[in-house]
């Protein structure tokens, strides 16, 4: 798969409908627990960048993890409409 072909699967004009969940510091910064977002982002990383702009998330992608449909995933994971997306700030259980 050539990267350019891959990107063309979701042309920039296509808006995906994504189910976002926010936890901990992201929940407080977003001011909500969840929302349905229409986004032009094609990857988890692009979506996170969009949310950083929108809500002022300060944690970098190296401090944060992405999860799609209740599974951890890579930052370059392609999004598809209907995905449930969450970003995981540094954990502190136990």
């Amino acid at each position: 798969m050539h990267p350019i072909q891959k990107d063309s699967v979701n042309p920039p004009a296509t808006l995906l409908s994504l189910q976002l969940q926010y936890f901990a510091i992201f929940r407080e910064q977003a001011g909500k627990r969840s929302e349905v977002l229409l986004s032009s982002a094609t990857t988890a990383a692009e979506l996170y960048a969009e949310l950083q702009q929108r809500y002022g998330f300060e944690l970098t992608t190296s401090q944060t993890k992405a999860a799609i449909n209740n599974e951890f995933c890579d930052w370059d994971r392609q999004l598809k409409s209907g995905d449930a997306v969450a970003f995981i700030p540094p954990v502190a259980g136990g």
């Binding site: 300060e58 944690l59 136990g94």
Partner: protein, 147 residues
């Protein structure tokens, strides 16, 4: 016996969970309890809040328990984590491991709590005597927020 991992939002009572780990071949049992401390990094903690991403946390927690069952010669392992508002001295997590021999029980218990702290999506917000509060490992990497 598969490893068990669960959440609760009321005080942890490990007795029933520990009973599930009893086995006639189990010569050693090791438990770890994490409790709310009255201080952290020089600040006086008055209260603490745990929040989880339940679906992913249960999945990752069970994965860790399975890893422990595979890596160490243990008979059983169980963990329960509390979420919500906790006071000083409250038990936040309980991990129990039974094994024929103590070495495996100690190693597995340590493995489980270390991995949980690193991998399971649970967050902790401390409320300080100063009135400040902060999400542990989050605020300290950005700036200290005063709320």
């Amino acid at each position: 016996m598969p490893g068990a991992f669960s959440f609760c939002d009321t005080p942890i009572d490990p007795a029933a969970l520990q009973a599930t780990l009893n086995h006639p071949a189990a010569g050693g049992f090791v438990a770890f309890e994490g409790r709310v401390r009255n201080h952290n990094e020089g600040q006086t903690v008055v209260q603490l809040e745990y929040e989880a991403f339940p679906e992913l946390a249960i999945k990752e927690g069970l994965l860790i328990m399975d890893e422990a069952m595979q890596r160490f010669a243990i008979i059983g392992a169980a963990c329960i984590h509390r979420v919500g508002l906790l006071e000083i001295g409250d038990m936040a997590i309980w991990v129990g491991v039974s094994a024929a021999h103590r070495d495996a029980a100690f190693s597995a218990c340590r493995y489980i709590i270390d991995e949980i702290k690193q991998r399971v999506p649970i967050w902790k917000k401390e409320h300080y005597a100063s009135g400040d509060s902060g999400w542990i490992n989050c605020e300290t990497r950005t700036r200290t927020r005063s709320e």
